[in-house]
Amino acid sequence: MASTRDTFQVPKRYNSLAIALMAIGIIAIIALYITTHGSGGTPAEKHQSDARFWASLLQNSVYFLLVCNAVIFFIAATTLAWGGWQMSFRRVSEAITVCVPVVGTICGVILLTILFSSNHIIYHWSDNNVVANDAALDWKSGFLNKGFFATWTVFTIVAWSLVGWKLRSLSRSTDAGKLTVEEGKRYMWTNTVWAAIYIVIFALTVMSSIPWFWLMSIDAHWYSTMYSWYTFASSFVAGIALITLFVIYLKNTGYLEFTTKEHLHDLGKFQFAFSIFWTYLWFAQLMLIWYANIPEETVYFKPRYFGAYSPIFWMVFMINFVAPILIYMSRDSKRNYATLTFMSMLILFGHWLDFYQMVFPGSVSPDHVPTILYDFGVGIGFVGVILFVTARALTKAPMIAKNHPLIKESLIHHT
């Protein structure tokens, strides 16, 4: 087994691609900064162009952080359920989770910069004068205040990174040698406990408070009880798509010989199922507000459903619901590398676009869509970071945890 296929070696072309993507990202950020800060204008215009710059960074960093973090959730959930099927490519998921501290640091810096900015862009509730003259914001200020936001953001990113690291190091601790039955039982128990701890943290962060803070507070007067679940569904589908893309890439370069079409089929099923789950939340959030027709709620959907953002809004629906349900419905398409690759990329883009329409109408302007190409460039940069970090992480450990108690279940897995 001690062949070169056992551990990943980063191909030169892969490396240059990752660096090129990161360069595109940096160029896009610089270009965006110049276009938004170059010319003068009234204070109101300056405020808006400043917000446009930071909204782009906010959308991209939050999206890619939540996607990488969803991969930790995938690991924790399957570990907690003692799901053996994913063991053959588990090291790939683990490598992706190394991105959480990296993208998390970037995201944390961006969030805190926006929060403590002197001109109170995007999070207009961060201005004490505004809150003092606004009954609704004043009422929410017990939760929605700078101190809690900052503390909770830092705690969240650190906690995700630490538990992610713990789950990885537990997985790598089996590489030393075969486990006895007693050691195996104890190992499974420790693993389960740490996965459970992560799930609790996840429930308190992604499933509830973090989307409220980072995204929903952009439209501070509006709220939806579906919002956190909706954000979670988005990021989870995209996370599975990311795992699928890495698994297919590694299969095509000759690694992961024990990961077969059966595993990819299951990843395809996950994408299919959670695309439908996303749609369910998308629709539940929309339909109740549409039905009740209360002005302070419908104001959120007006620019999205009818206004400037409606092309994006409906494109998101087409990409994230209509395409998966039609294309992923048949068994063969979930077992086909080409459809899986295409759909995974499409889904990653679709949910990126979804985050775009969540962030921009509230933080920049509900009346016009800014040039999306800049934001796409920034997103490409984050993709580059993920490619770079994941590949580095993959080289650090064997590609398969061959002593894990459940590994055989994965090798004989079939659907």
Binding site: F283, L286, M287, Y291, N293, M329, R331, H414
Partner: protein
């Protein structure tokens, strides 16, 4: 459906059954079916059965359900008896999605269950011949269909050689008929006595 002649072998271990299926098929015998007490993964592939089309039927039923729901609600709420609900347009698609979804699921699930029963010939009072009643308990039963060219004794010897037990030649009705197991089991017994 006609009565046919079968060579029937019983296995008490699936680890014996799998290689036996492979050998029997390679030897060119026609396997009528294999009856097992529980579903066995991979046996369908070993037997060379094609993938089921049940899901295609399910898709068609589902689409039918969607069309029925959208069609009926549209007709009822815009043409036949248009009502104004809270100032919404008559054609209010978002409000109909839940019902459309429910009807899609209902049509797909009920349709698939009925199709499954039809394909398996399962229904109240539908009666079928058994090769060995213990195939519902602890025995794996393999039935080879005898064609004009089949030499019975060869087939029996072959089944014995691949690990079957109590190999016998049986005449069985391959179709179904209406009857009750507690009252009418004449047909079942007659066949066993007749041959």
């Amino acid at each position: 459906m006609p009565v046919k002649k079968f060579v029937v072998g019983n296995f008490d271990d699936e680890a014996v059954l799998f290689p036996a299926v492979k050998k029997v098929r390679r030897a060119g015998y026609k396997i009528h079916d294999v009856f097992t007490p529980f579903p066995i993964h991979g046996l369908d592939k070993e037997l060379g059965l094609r993938d089921t089309s049940l899901h295609v039927a399910g898709f068609i039923y589902g689409i039918t359900g969607t069309a029925t729901a959208v069609g009926f609600i549209t007709w009822a709420l815009t043409l036949d008896w248009a009502l104004n609900f809270g100032g919404k347009p008559y054609f209010s698609l978002p409000a109909w999605i839940p019902i459309t979804f429910e009807l899609t699921v209902l049509f797909a699930s009920v349709g698939m269950v009925l199709t499954f029963c039809w394909l398996c010939q399962l229904a109240p009072f539908v009666k079928k011949d058994h090769f060995n009643p213990r195939s519902t308990d602890d025995t794996f039963v393999m039935a080879l269909e005898c064609t004009a060219k089949t030499n019975e004794q060869d087939a029996i010897n072959f089944l014995n050689s691949v690990g079957a037990k109590d190999v016998s030649v049986q005449y069985r009705e391959t179709g179904w008929w209406l009857g009750r197991y507690d009252k009418d089991n004449m047909k079942f017994e007659k066949r066993e006595l007749a041959h």
